[in-house]
Each structure stands twice: as structure tokens, then as C-alpha cells.
Symmetry: D3
Subunit: 137 residues, 6 copies
């Protein structure tokens, strides 16, 4: 009788078609929701009387975390969702996602809501391509 | 001249109206996307030839993480988004979200896709109330 | 001979009695210890000469993290430890834990040690019910 | 008038007495609770009929995480709570905590509940010294 | 006299030259060390008698985590270290890093050490370009 | 035929020689890279005109995280890499690593770059012993 060790050793077959296990469930909404949070924090930062001193400091802490989550979700779309055929069809995609992650970094030290707006627009462009690839699938 | 220490000490005013800073940007889609992932993993687990041995083990690992994220997003909605007036208007809300988080735990050890389906339905019920409160605001 | 795939597929039986695997080891002390940390930070914040400027900023950062951990531990108690029979016996439990997590959020932007004290008292109420359910088991 | 930049630059005074901000609230209970969880998982692993196949795999995943938390809490006690004077009075303390963290690593691949018991005993020894230093303070 | 609120509001000047604060300290060694760990785990997985059953399962868990860290470190290099002028000089860079992150995903479900070797080679290519950009700076 | 349950139960043999699975791939460079980041942040903090106000606050947040990572990597070396024979040959090792982690804590509230320099020197001492044990192996 084979031990599990042998069974596991023998049966594993590469499944290159789907790189990561949970593929199929990706959604640019995850990046967008966090970016909306970044944008809202930037807006509140400037509204007079909206935030007390401690909350202004907290705004910077939380904006840092939310912008990190934006980057995280964009990276997952880039590395896990998009396939070589998408990159071929949309040659600007690498650069677009790259600039979106850089914009998230800019939002970390920015206090101007316009930077958050720009981040949302870049994520929107990624989402448009995402939807097109979904419909083509 | 006041030192910052004094200034910070003096100016901080409680802002009880908004418990957490980034309030305003909440979305049940965050819980739903992770739950869809849990559901999809449960479905793949049973499709013959879909997953190799290693990937079956990985499916359990990843399902564990995704179900945790479902709970996390539901907890944030519960504690950070919903306010006393919502609880008054929807007295079943505590129990509904509680059962949804318990269903996420059930999905951790379940292998039956029906459990994932049940999780999605409970999140859907939470989302319906969420939308109603948004429209009422 | 069955492959592991078949064996795993066949043998898995739902174990609904214990929702999560590590059930049995829950302790409100985890939430309480983090809340004591929040409380202590709030006290130090006001003691003259206790904290330098950088440490005042760090106090806000660390308080944010500790208050998050309080919420985390309360959520686990709520979703993983407490069972339907507890909710039936203590109908105020949902609301009590909910208010405790909201108080942890208040402590994030508060600088008044009284808010930390209030958090400790709410956790104490949860702990009292927890102990009663343990003794009844 | 000084800008904040200057004020922050000038006012920061080293506070070497307390290395980390939240010092004062340390509790070996944090390591002990996680270790009890590890121990319980090891016990359940062997009780016939207690865990289904998926849950056996999950037990290994969760045990890995809990044992990591044990190490984490022990490291914090070692680096953040204990001071040079404690090390002088308890010269075995470095080695004791070190062996406790190594025992947590052993519990990761062990399936024998005796290893969990040994971990609990080592944490108990750390806790005894901790209590003695508290009473001496 | 200005309040801090005003001072902070006025003095913040965009510093677009360095996107993220800690720029300057990047090192492909971080990705490489985690990739070596992935590679070593894949090798051990096949050495007869090297790993017991529990440790074979743990190998899959730990490999999953290490491969995630590889992706994380590559993403940070991509978004935070590399600048537009680098992308212009090395037009293959987007695709190279992208394929390296995809190879890390392949290593998650692979059990063939050759996949780990391939990951190390891709990271090496990234490191070569990294070093060239450092020397040019 | 044995079920997996029995097989797993029977075959697991303690492998005490290597405490943790991924042993073999440890590198003090991980702690050093994060410490360089801490050091650089401390230097930038004092360069006039280098950081705007928001970035000064962010510097403290990021320094806190990086110093935590330094501690984390040192703890892993201490508990996972170093073996009893190393401690016997280098009896100062416990204390050296301990002081290095305490120096990382000091860097959290320090603004003086000299504290970062001191941290780098302590990590260097750990690395020297690490290299010696590697060559002796």
C-alpha cells in the first residue's frame, strides 16, 4: 500500500491554466472602495471644523493604511487576474496600473483632495479594461 | 507662546458624531467579494479534475483566509457603519450579522458549496438593510 | 485503492457542534489587556512631562492599534465563543458587545482617560457574562 | 514665531527610562492563552472522531498561527518588558524565554499533546519570574 | 497666533520627487531571501525521509506565505523604487517583474524545485537591472 | 485499508533536529535593510527642507513600522536560527540580540540619527557571529 507521502508525491499535477487557486473572483471595486476612503479623508482634512487635532493626525495614519490597501488590491489584479493575452491586447496596462500604484503613494503624503480624485480616475481606467476582458471571456 | 504640547492638549475636541474617522465609505461589496471567493473555492473543491492534491490543501488554507476576511468586513460594518438609529429600525440586525459571521466560520470547515451559498444569502440580507439606511440618510 | 482525493472527498463530515476549530480557549482577558494599554496611554498623554512630542504622536499611533486589537478580541468572543443559547439567556449581549466595540472606536480619537475607563467597564460587563456561561457549561 | 517644524525639532527629549511607549501593561496571560489553544488543538487531534479530515488539516494551519502568536507575545515580554536589572537578578531568563519560543516552534510540527504541555510549563516559569519582578517594582 | 491646524494646513508642500518617504533603501535581497526559502522548501519536499506528514502539510502552508512575501517585495520594488526614467531605459522591466510575481504564484502550487529555481533566476534578472540603475544614479 | 486519519496519526515522527521547517535560509540582511531604512528616516528628519509637515508625521509612523520589522527579523534569528551549540560558543549572544531589539525600540521614539547608527552596529555584531556559525557548519 502506498503511504500518503507517496500518494501526494505522485499525484500532484501542475495546473498552469489557473495561476492562483481563487482565480475567477477579482473585482476592481476592492481598490476603488479604499481609494474612495483616501479621497474622503483628503476632503475632510480641509473642511474647517471637521477634524480636531488628534483626528488630523489620525487622518494621516489611516490615509497611509488605506493607500497601502489600494496598492495591494491593484497589485493582486496586476499579478493574479491579468493574463498574457490581456497584456497583448492592452499594451498600456502595465504602465496604467503602475501609475495608479504610484498615485496611491502620492496620496500618502498629499493633502490635496485633487490627488485622491486622480487616483480614482486611474482606478476607473483599470476597471474599464477589467470589464472589457471579463466580457470578452 | 504656547508649545505644541499645550496647543494639542487644548484644542482637541471630542467629535462623537462620527465614531471613526473614515466613516462614510462602507460597502457590503467587500464582504460579498470575499464570500464569492469562498463559494467558488467550495465549488472547485468538488469538480472532478479541477484541483490537484496540493491545490486541495491550498484550497483549505485560502478558504480559511477568505472566510476570515468575510468576518472582518462584516464586523467593520457592524461596529463602524451601523448606528443606534439603524439598530432601532432593524432590531434583527445584530442577530443577522452575527449569524452571517457564524456562517463564515462554518464555511471554514465545510466542503459543501451550499454553505457558501448560504453565506452569500446572509450577506445579501445585510446589504439590503445597508442600502435602505443609505437611502434614508 | 482509493486515492487521497477520494478519501478526503468521502470522509469529511460536518462537525457543526463546534463552529471553529480552537473553540474552548476564549478569554476576555485578551480584550481587557489591550484596553488597559489604551487606558494607560490616555493617562500618560495628560501627565505633564511624561511624553515628549514624538512620543505624543506615537501615543496616537499605538492607541489606534491597541483599540483595534480590543475590537478584534471582542469580535472573536461575539462570533466564535458565544452560542445561540447564550444570546437567549442574555438578550442584552449583542448590544453590550456592540457598544464596547464602539467605545473602542471612541478611544481612538479621544484623549480623555475617562473614555478608556468606560471601555474597561464595558469589557468587564462582557467578562461577567462570559464567566457565568463558563460556570453554567 | 517658530514653525511646528522648529518646535518639534527642539522639544523632543529622549525618554530612555521607558523604552516603548505602552510599557506598564504587559501580561504573560497573552502567551499562555495562545499556548492553551495550541495544547487543546494537539489534544483534539488525537481524540477519535473529534475532527474530520478537513478539520485535521485546519488544525495544523491554526496550530501554526497560534504557536506564532505564542512566540510573538514571548518576544514582546523579552524585549519590551524585561529590563537589565531583571536580567541581572534572573540570569537564566534569556535562556528560559529562548527555550519557550523554541518549544512553540516544536509544537508547530508536533502532534503529541505532551509538547503543548511542556510549552505551558515553560510559559508558567516565565510568568513566575514576571510576577516576582512586578511585586518587586 | 496661528493654531497648529493652520500651520499644518499652510506648510505642507508637495514633495513629488520622492514618492514614498523611505525611498533610498530598497534591496532585491529581500525578495531573493524569501525565494530561496521557497526553493529550499520545494527541495526538502522531495528528499525522502526529510519531512514527516505534518511537516509536508506545513511545507505547503509556509511555502504559500513565503511566495506571498516574494510577490510583496517585488511589488514594492516595482511601484516604489523604479522611476519613469528606469522604465524608459529598460522597457522590458514591467513584463519581467510581472512574470516574476506570476512565477511566485506558480511556486505556490508547484512541488517541482525547478519552479523555485526559475523564480530565483527571474529575481536575479530584476536585481541586475536594479544594480545598474543604482550605479547610474 | 488505513484511512488518512490513521496514516497521518501513525506516520508523524518528531524531527527535532530542525526546529522550524524552512530552516537553512536565514539572513541578517533582512534586519539590516530595515534598520538602514530607520537610519535614513532619522537622517532625513533633520535635513532642513527635506520633509514637509505631513511627511514628518509620516516619518514617525513609518519609522515605527520599520523598527518593528527590525525586531521581528532579529527575533526570528534568535529563536529559529541560533541553536544551543551557538549559545554555548557565544555566551554573549542572548544579551547582544536582546540589546539590538531594545535599540530598535529606542529608535522608535528617537529623532537622533546616532541612535539609528547604533542599531546598525549592533545588527552588524549579530551578523558577524551569524557568519562565523555558518562557516563552522
Amino acid at each position: 500500500m502506498q503511504t500518503i507521502q507517496t500518494i501526494i508525491g505522485n499525484l500532484i499535477k501542475p495546473v498552469y491554466a489557473h495561476c492562483d487557486l481563487p482565480c475567477g473572483v477579482y473585482d476592481p471595486a476592492q481598490a476603488r472602495i479604499e481609494a474612495e476612503s483616501v479621497h474622503k479623508i483628503l476632503q475632510k482634512y480641509h473642511e474647517p471644523g471637521e477634524l480636531g487635532e488628534t483626528d488630523k493626525l489620525r487622518a494621516i495614519i489611516i490615509k497611509e493604511q488605506r493607500a497601502d490597501l489600494v496598492k495591494q488590491h491593484l497589485w493582486v489584479l496586476w499579478s493574479d487576474y491579468f493574463k498574457p493575452e490581456h497584456m497583448e491586447k492592452y499594451p498600456e496596462l502595465h504602465d496604467l496600473i503602475w501609475r495608479a500604484t504610484k498615485q496611491a503613494s502620492i496620496c500618502k503624503h498629499a493633502t490635496d483632495p485633487a490627488e485622491g480624485q486622480k487616483l480614482l480616475e486611474l482606478i476607473n481606467e483599470v476597471a474599464t479594461i477589467f470589464t472589457a476582458t471579463k466580457q470578452a471571456a
